[in-house]
Symmetry: D2
Subunit: 364 residues, 4 copies
């Protein structure tokens, strides 16, 4: 049960609403002895809240993560790690007038039906704000992965019809630099420029647009993931599809595989040095749900943000017809796919940290 | 943990290898008082093993499901339901010569690395045979859904580049008839014919091809699924991506949403009679991870089967270069997407049965 | 996994060390629509920290519980409820000199071996301070039980060899008054006086003493608890034995049953009005692990507190022989059984709240 | 959820009714590479079904355990291990006439209320027969413990008022021999004789009697068990209290600790060779819920069996007054504590196997 938790051994539980006093996450099951600081978590949070471009509308939160437990003298102790992020840039007044209005594409309709009550301030629990907790926990997971020499990253691959080819994974340090310095988290500077021009158009229309984030993990051991229901690909799918605004997930060749023949798609085994490996990676680093050691690659599809400045028809909670649009001065993200990249990276890291710990009991 | 289990309250655990004595599933958490018979399970199993076309290569198992516990006087008792399916059509001799050979696209490489031992006979635990257990359990889940008036079905949507448009969901009885009577589980007879011709070509080439299965559930209550990590869409993604040979999953508009604008994608709310509803269903029946009451629609992408008759390069477990192809007389499925349809239907039913039981404690 | 969580549907996760910034608990799975206030939680916390007698040595914390999420306009929303309790009365200086000393009866030895690192300040995670989080969560569980008309209470039954007979459960309001107004949580005033005199002796000796807490829940429906591994009695046993300093648990007749004959022990069924019931209650309200509707009664045995003012031999973490005793002025609880009573009550409430929610899916 | 499962990583799921076709268990999470045979499981099952004395009334089952999956070439593969035990000595005719009668001390009352349906044949799911599955799984767990050099055993300690002192744990091989060759699983031959005479009396009275089983595990590493809710002592308590007919559990000094002073109870640390250890073991091998490396010792209290030949008053399911006694020729166990010993040993082994696997991710 416990729908606000994710993971088996390395397990997170998040809590908090967009406009409540604070949000937070508890990490249970992180091994003792891992060095981690509030500063490292803050850095990850800052990436989620870029602010260095006009295509994301971050809250002006300082997003200071406070570690309240589980770390002693700079290292994890094996006790649960509680991280708290205060909500400071909160003004709920604009939500009051629309609290009885069903906003197209929003979850207030389903929450109200499910629970009979909805904390409408800033979207309450349904807000993307919850993903800050994932990023904070992901920063701890990344430290664990580093210990095992594993690298993870996610970047913007597509906005509307503008798409880049996948970058090379042979120099992860370079890739990380390219991604983290791009205002769009897009490692291909040329495409990023096109995307920015397009996003400007979208903003001017008062509209929004969907996008695709690609993720990759390298230097994985062979053997992560479990054969049947906890396939690495299945757990990743759940992790990514649990993000707000997601509509699609693929691993390796993805939907393109549906149009390929076996003779094209199969990755032939070969030997490089002492290592058995494959020359192609259509599988995306997973065979039978278990990591092959090749780069773990996949993509997540995000729908266009629901909140737009164009007028839309809708009804109130009591069924009266009305219309809705964001006010001209409202916060407005033209796409969710940019700021989603660091969150996808966090989810990837959480899944792998858990898989590594689970792997420890696979054989005698 | 427990990587061979799926579900929270309505929870299944499967066991068994392709060429072991038997395979089976235990269902824990099915409410007492549900009428279920071995015949109903057998019927579902028969669908998974079509045999009524030349594009699937079923074992000649009778696939008789034996209910060993949890049912008394024709009804569930609340005790765990154990279902056993004997393995009869088993000849492991053809696997002996290739046991030290890494077959491209197969999981023997990753299993061997992970566990240090691999039951290679018929693919062992990695075989698609395990999905018979999912179908058996899915038949019980479907009975529970029937009690709540919910319908579920899955059908072939695409083979290679040949694709159908989605059928109408207004007459589910008709749709079920169209799907179940099609040798390809494809409700569109015209497209099915094209697909058959194409599959014939593929077979003659000794090759294989990928495909897409679409699923739908209708008459859902509003409110199924949990907001954060157990979103209905996330749990479905995990369920589907846990099937062998899957590479992609989408819900509603899926990857197409990435190229849509908010003004196109948002489903406007309206009132029909006493009911609040939406005129379009880009969301695919889920908002914020919770069911909207509209049809729950999604798609699963399958890669081409790895076992083909074309010659492929590979290496042995000790790294020696060699080649591999299926023998001319071997079993050979040109696509996995046909026989996957009833399994997708089963997984959909299992996810929904669990969501309905979880929903019971959402509010006072 | 997740060793810092308890419960299935109504599930708590606690975090925090004795001398960290704060401790806290997240409740996941509480139904929406339940009225709960910070004041109600504070009242329960105050009981755990009596201060109204000389036999408990509470920290001078105000123990203000702050609800950070999951409650909106005074009611639960279905989102996780995060409760934070700041640590204010914290002075770790006295722990510094003894950090490399293994204290007899203390957990620093096992923590250090297990994790390789130990937050020794105030006992860190091993401190009884964690139970404040259980009491806070228990207050929410009690509100849910109230909704179903169920009463729970726990009281001091024995200190050393001084023991009371069980009180009557026919007037729970009276019993609650007697317990809550007793400085020892002992409903029998005469025995309480004897206990106090004895505790005074123990204090003067600089020693400590063990004790027994009894718990009862009344007005339970028949049917709570699950037949095999989640028997109500088994889950209660785990709940109680997870408390610090516990050595024993019994339900109903307990160890006394080992000396009874079947003809004495069996509770005969009879009919009272429309109700099938039993005249005796040796079973303690549980048959086959499932509640009978009669009072659920059991007992928890606590060892004497380890920290005493008498001198004891021990060794340091590096194995050097030394001695240890609490300083004359140190905090010193002569027994843990008094302040344990409200915590036992909280655990009982948590177990029952969860059992009630699980019960909702037992039959169609 | 999943009330028919036990364990986190090494996790069992049992199924089956006393008079169904078969009972069985699936072990998920056993590491690959462990040698296990059907014969080893059969041996454990034979112990549970002594037949070598007149004080247990075993079914005349051969209790042949069939391993249906998860073992290949004599070793575990990491796949779930399914073990099936057929029910052969089954005659349900004697249960037909009493199916509407509430038997004192039996669970048919609570099952019927909970589920609205009850498989009354042989007690159905509530029968002690389920424990054969625990013993089968326990045999696999014991093999894993052997790999780590850990020994586990359980023995009869008390029947009615006749009790033995605890044996020495310094020679486990000798202790095992003494226990396994005793018809009562009692290592003290003199006391066993007294017990036998007493059981004869009880049998002649047509009555039954309670008893206590003690368990011990030796050669444990320091560090097993988790600090808060999954304390080794708490998990053991749940394991033991999940057995039929249990009323009480204690670890180490148990309830006796409630009458001890801290100066008596604390185990002083000392150094033996390179090892830090304790000279006494009141803690029973657990401090703060984590193993100390000393023998893990505890006791389980069983009530007298409910089925006796003395006449008892009761009512029918519709509330009509009647009486009930076992027929003169019926199976009749004078105590459950004898045959419970191998089951307690199995549960102890299961808890420790799981704790060892969980321990693997405690620190970097």
């Amino acid at each position: 049960m416990a729908s606000n938790s994710f993971g088996s051994i390395f397990r997170i539980t998040t809590w908090g609403e967009s406009h409540g006093k604070a949000i937070g996450v508890t990490i249970d099951g992180c091994p003792a002895g891992l060095a981690i600081s509030e500063e490292e978590i803050r850095e990850a949070l800052v990436r989620r809240r870029p602010g260095n471009n006009s295509y994301t509308s971050p809250r002006k939160e300082e997003d200071k993560a406070e570690i309240l437990s589980g770390v002693f003298q700079g290292k994890t102790t094996g006790a649960p790690i509680s991280i708290l992020i205060a909500n400071k840039d909160v003004d709920s007044s604009s939500y009051e007038p629309i609290k009885d209005l069903l906003r197209p594409g929003h979850a207030n309709f389903t929450y109200l039906e499910k629970y009979g009550i909805f904390d409408y301030r800033g979207g309450g629990r349904s807000s993307g704000r919850e993903t800050a907790c994932r990023v904070a926990a992901g920063a701890v997971a990344k430290k664990l992965l580093e210990f095992y020499g594993i690298e993870t990253i996610a970047y913007l691959k597509q906005i509307g019809k503008i798409s880049t080819t996948s970058p090379s994974f042979s120099n992860m340090e370079q890739l990380r630099r390219d991604v983290y310095t791009s205002p769009l988290f897009c490692p291909d500077e040329m495409t990023a420029k096109q995307m920015m021009a397009y996003l400007q158009e979208i903003l001017e229309e008062g509209d929004s647009i969907g996008g695709v984030v690609e993720f990759v993990a390298t230097n994985l051991p062979v053997g992560l993931g479990d054969p049947i229901y906890d396939k690495l690909s299945a757990t990743l799918a759940k992790a990514m599809m649990s993000l707000p605004a997601t509509k699609a997930f693929e691993i390796g060749s993805g939907f393109a595989a549906c149009m390929m023949k076996g003779s094209e798609h199969n990755d032939e085994f070969s030997k490089e040095g002492d290592q058995i490996t494959m020359k192609t990676n259509h599988s995306g680093g997973v065979l039978g749900g278990i990591s092959t050691g090749l780069p773990l690659v996949g993509r997540v599809g995000f729908k266009p943000p629901s909140s737009i400045k164009k007028m839309q028809k809708t009804v109130t909670t009591t069924g009266e017809e009305t219309t809705f649009s964001l006010s001209e001065t409202a916060r407005h993200d033209p796409t969710v796919a940019i700021r989603a990249a660091p969150v996808v990276e966090a989810m990837l890291s959480l899944v792998l940290a858990d898989a590594i710990l689970m792997q420890k009991s696979a054989k005698l």
